[in-house]
Amino acid sequence: MQMQHLTDTTGAAAQPPVLDVRHVEKVYGSRNNVTRALADVSFTVQRGEFVGIMGASGSGKSTLLNCVSTIDAVTSGHVFIDGVDVTGMKPAKLTRFRREQLGFIFQDSNLLDTLTARENIALPLTISRVPAREVQVRVEAVASRLSITGVLDKYPYQMSGGQQQRVAAARALVGDPAIIMADEPTGALDSKNARLLLECFETMNRTYRATVLMVTHDSFAASYTNRVLFIRDGRIFTELRRGAASRQEFFNRIMEVVAMMGGEGSDAL
């Protein structure tokens, strides 16, 4: 199946894509023992999109996210973020780029256990030397949008897992990044907290026009997105667009694809 350059043609002419992945390949191991984690993957993401990446474990979806988010280096191919090629960047420049252009949310919230929620959210701003007064204003604003004002002065160990993840989401959002990368953000949450977090992502996406790229193996989580890319054996297998469909309809369509790809969907709900 040939599925190259899955480009959102509708907005392409008006605006360059915020993320442009071209022919990315990732190979692990030595000459005698090669594992091909990604093979010729290409796609784009437009500003303001909420994109899901689905696949079974070992399909290469986390590798893809790592390559796109500059945490891992690609073997060949290019990744453009906001028109800048990040594949050849020097480490120091990469650090700065990551700080200014990317936001991260991980499966375990990765909050600093010694800082309060407020300080955790402020971190990307203080690292970028944003003036103290502005830091306060922006932290408060994001927190109230994501309904976590009540936990701002608590430490991570005093919060529930869901609260921690929403704080992590606020931290990813506060620096106003070009794109937010979320790696299995609902993986460690119960269904109620997962739903709250996903609604939080929707809010981010709708009110802040934040671009979100979310890796998940959970069809329910994927149904909150605008578009889902399915990955199998290191290649893009297919993509689904939500269009005007309701979340339930979109969920059913995702389930169909998952079933067609063979298994893995049964534990989604």
Partner: protein, 749 residues
């Protein structure tokens, strides 16, 4: 197989073992080098002029080594716990794979053994090198010439070192085996994830605790500066001092307990600074560690304080002696004779009577009677005796084949006898003048450390004008003229006491003694003309010189007689010293009635005084450096281990920071700031304590001729700082390594 596994582990966990290895190696080096002291003292030619010095020092050093080995043992247990904590999971895995606890224990035994052997080998090599170098140091310390330098190896020191290392090894092993024996597999396996629970305290409470601690320290300082040291050992003095000590200890602990909270609060109020870069991370990281670290920081501050204070005091005292010894040894040979006072005579005669009554009751005990000295009665002397003449009663090297009679006159050239009198007249019970009287006359306080002692009732010694002029002529100095109504005061005690005398003389204070009004004829204490005997430090604490007729009229009894002798021109110093010899018995000093009037005091040649000073200097410097160095290394090692375990606990946080786009440089900087605070604050507090304590000690020591900070203090401090700084560097480099690894492996976890 287990051995191979252990070897692999040591090599792989090399960095974890580095602190352990470094500290143990340093300990072995220092243990070996200092225990070669008796050989060194030989080589440096000290024993040639100071027999027994080597053994004395050697004995003290061996004893100290055992004590320091115990300290080191506990330190090693601590260091090892750090390694164990990081490797619990690994030990759990071995057990899950089917190894018995015994086998795991054996792996660990091998590992500990390898590291100990490596430390022994490295340490002995370094120790060998250091001990050769130290011979030169020893020679300069004891001011001797190296007679015959050759490379040496001391089996005794080696055995001592191996013994101590073996003891340390065994202690560490026992603790390790206990950890393995007690641990459950489930705990071991989950050890990696069990992050130390972050206990946060209200920073306001911390800040208050800090301020209370600071206030307590200040109160203790003020108390110490005001009360001084309990020099006289009275219960009240000791109690006051005890309370001050308790306050400063508690204050120091509170200070460190609240330190991070206070820093946090202080910086939070400076918003621009707090919400900037990694500042808040650095501070939060500091305050998160405070529970585990604050107590040891306080203990380290106190240990550093003790090390600094004792090393500085010891060395300064020694160097002060060194600088005053020239003034303190005006002639080739002196001896002094202390006469029995009326109190002593009464007491001893009563004892003799009791003994006689007892003997009469038990006549079978004939030996006791025969043993007693010829003079069985004691009396207060009427007049000073002629000491030159009395010296003929001495026997040199008694009870040996070389025993020979002695006559000082046979080697003496110029000589003078100085006679001082007790200032309490025979028919009175109060001294004619006391230091306390003088203090009141010039409105000064008694010197620090003497306020509560019997200084208030102790009189100044008295001497006659003619005798003092005789002394001055002997010394080749200008004589004085008191006339009918003059007086002057001599004293070589320096500083505090002489300040009072100087003021008395300068103000021309009038004294009424024996009904006669007297005025001083000098405006300063003649310090250079006040020394009557060879000694390391001033011994004349105040002697008032009065007109001869007044002294006669006062009817005083003799106090101390001093005989000062220069050898005759045809007698060299070596010949004279040899004739004096080292051991002697004195002839009895009796009055016409055959009653004992004095016990012998002290004798000293200029040479022996110089040697005592050099030996004392060497001894103090040796012990100070030895103890100080080991303590400083121990403190630094504890800080290092704590910091590294802290960095490794926090490595997840550093990984997150890196993911958020913090540059590695900034993260290193944060680690650096944290470690600097941990290393610098104990030193700062320790130094602050030391400065206050030293200022009080200096005041006290001023009584005995004063002391200035000097000698080897500078160089010793430098050595300590290098050792401490070395640990700091190791900590930082290793901490960076841990952070770097954590960032690199961020997604492997």
């Amino acid at each position: 197989m287990l051995c191979k596994l252990a070897w692999g582990n040591v090599r792989r966990a090399g960095r974890d073992y580095l602190v352990y290895l470094l500290t143990l190696t340093l300990a072995v080096t220092v243990f070996y080098a200092f225990n070669t002291i008796s050989v060194q003292v030989d080589l440096a030619g000290v024993t040639a002029q100071n027999a027994g010095m080597g053994e004395t020092l050697g004995g003290i050093i061996s004893g100290l080594t055992v004590f320091l080995a115990v300290v080191m043992g506990f330190l090693m247990v601590y260091a090892n716990n750090f390694i164990m904590k990081r490797r619990k999971k690994e030990f759990g895995l071995y057990q899950v794979l089917g190894m018995s606890k015994g086998q795991v224990a054996r792996i660990m035994t091998f590992e500990t053994l390898f590291v100990s052997m490596a430390a022994l080998a490295l340490g002995i090599v370094c120790g060998l090198a250091l001990s050769q170098l130290m011979v030169f140091f020893t020679a300069s310390l004891f001011k001797t010439q190296i007679a015959d330098f050759h490379f040496f190896f001391s089996l005794g020191a080696f055995a001592m070192t191996v013994g101590c290392l073996a003891a340390i090894f065994l202690v560490t092993l026992v603790f390790n085996l206990r950890v393995v024996a007690r641990a459950k597999i489930i705990d071991l396996m989950s050890a990696g994830r069990q992050n130390e629970a972050i206990k946060t305290r209200n920073p306001w409470v911390s800040a208050v605790i800090f301020l209370v601690g600071l206030a307590a320290i200040v109160v203790a300082y003020v108390r110490l500066l005001h009360d001084g040291l309990p020099y006289d050992g009275t219960p009240e003095g000791m109690q006051t001092f005890g309370i001050t000590t308790a306050i400063v200890v508690v204050g120091t602990i509170l200070f460190f307990y609240g330190l991070s909270g206070f820093l946090l609060k202080a910086l939070q109020s400076a918003r621009g600074l707090y919400w900037r870069g990694l500042n808040m991370v650095t501070l939060r990281q500091l305050s998160a560690k405070v529970n585990t670290v604050s107590l040891s920081m306080a203990v380290i501050a106190m240990i550093l304080f003790l090390a600094i204070t004792s090393v500085t005091t010891g060395m300064s005292l020694a160097s002060t002696m060194n600088s005053t010894v020239e003034r303190g040894t005006p002639v080739d040979y002196t001896r002094c004779l202390v006469y029995w006072s009326a109190d002593v005579v009464d007491e001893m005669n009563a004892e003799v009577q009791a003994q006689e009554a007892h003997d009469a009751g038990a006549p079978s005990d004939a030996e006791a009677v025969a043993d007693r000295s010829d003079a069985s009665r004691y009396a207060v002397a009427d007049d000073p005796i002629d000491m030159m003449q009395a010296s003929a009663g001495d026997t040199v090297d008694p009870d040996t084949a070389d025993a020979r009679p002695f006559d000082l006159a046979s080697i003496a050239g110029a000589s003078v006898q100085v006679d001082t009198y007790d200032s309490i007249p025979r028919d009175a019970d109060k001294p004619v003048v006391t230091l306390w009287d003088l203090c009141r006359l010039v409105h000064m306080d008694l010197p620090a450390g003497t306020e509560t002692s019997d200084m208030t009732t102790l009189g100044l010694a008295v001497m006659t004008e003619s005798n003092y002029n005789e002394y001055l002529r002997f010394r080749g100095m200008e004589t004085i003229e008191l006339g009918e109504n003059g007086y002057t005061i001599t004293s070589d005690m320096g500083a505090t006491v002489n300040d009072i005398y100087n003021k008395v003389l300068a103000e021309g204070v009038e004294l009424t003694i024996g009904g006669r009004a007297l005025r001083p004829v000098q405006d300063r204490v003649p310090e250079d003309a006040s020394t009557f005997q060879n000694a390391m430090m001033g011994m004349n604490s105040g002697t008032i010189v009065l007109p001869d007729d007044l002294v006669a009229a006062l009817d005083l009894s003799p106090y101390i007689s001093y005989l000062m002798v220069d050898y005759a021109d045809d007698v060299s110093v070596g010949e004279g010293d040899a004739y004096i010899g080292a051991y002697r018995t004195y002839g009895d000093v009796t009055n016409a009635a055959g009653e004992s009037v004095a016990g012998w005091g002290v004798e000293a040649t200029r040479t022996t005084t110089y040697q005592s000073v050099d030996s004392m200097n060497g001894l103090i410097s040796y012990l100070a450096i030895y103890i100080g160095f080991v303590l400083v290394v121990a403190c630094a090692a504890i800080l290092t281990i704590q910091q590294l375990s802290g960095v490794s606990d926090a490595s997840r946080n550093y990984r997150i920071l890196s993911e958020l786009g913090t540059s590695v440089r900034e993260i290193y900087h944060s680690v650096f700031v944290q470690q600097t605070i941990f290393f610098v604050f104990p030193v700062v507090v320790g130094i602050a304590h030391s400065i206050v304590a030293l200022s009080v000690i200096i005041k006290l020591v001023a009584l005995f001729g004063g002391m200035t900070i000097g000698g080897m203090v500078g160089i010793t401090t430098l050595i300590f700082l290098i050792a401490y700084g070395g640990y700091f560097c190791v900590t930082y480099v290793m901490g960076r390594g841990i952070v770097r690894d954590a960032i690199r492996t961020r997604h492997a976890a």
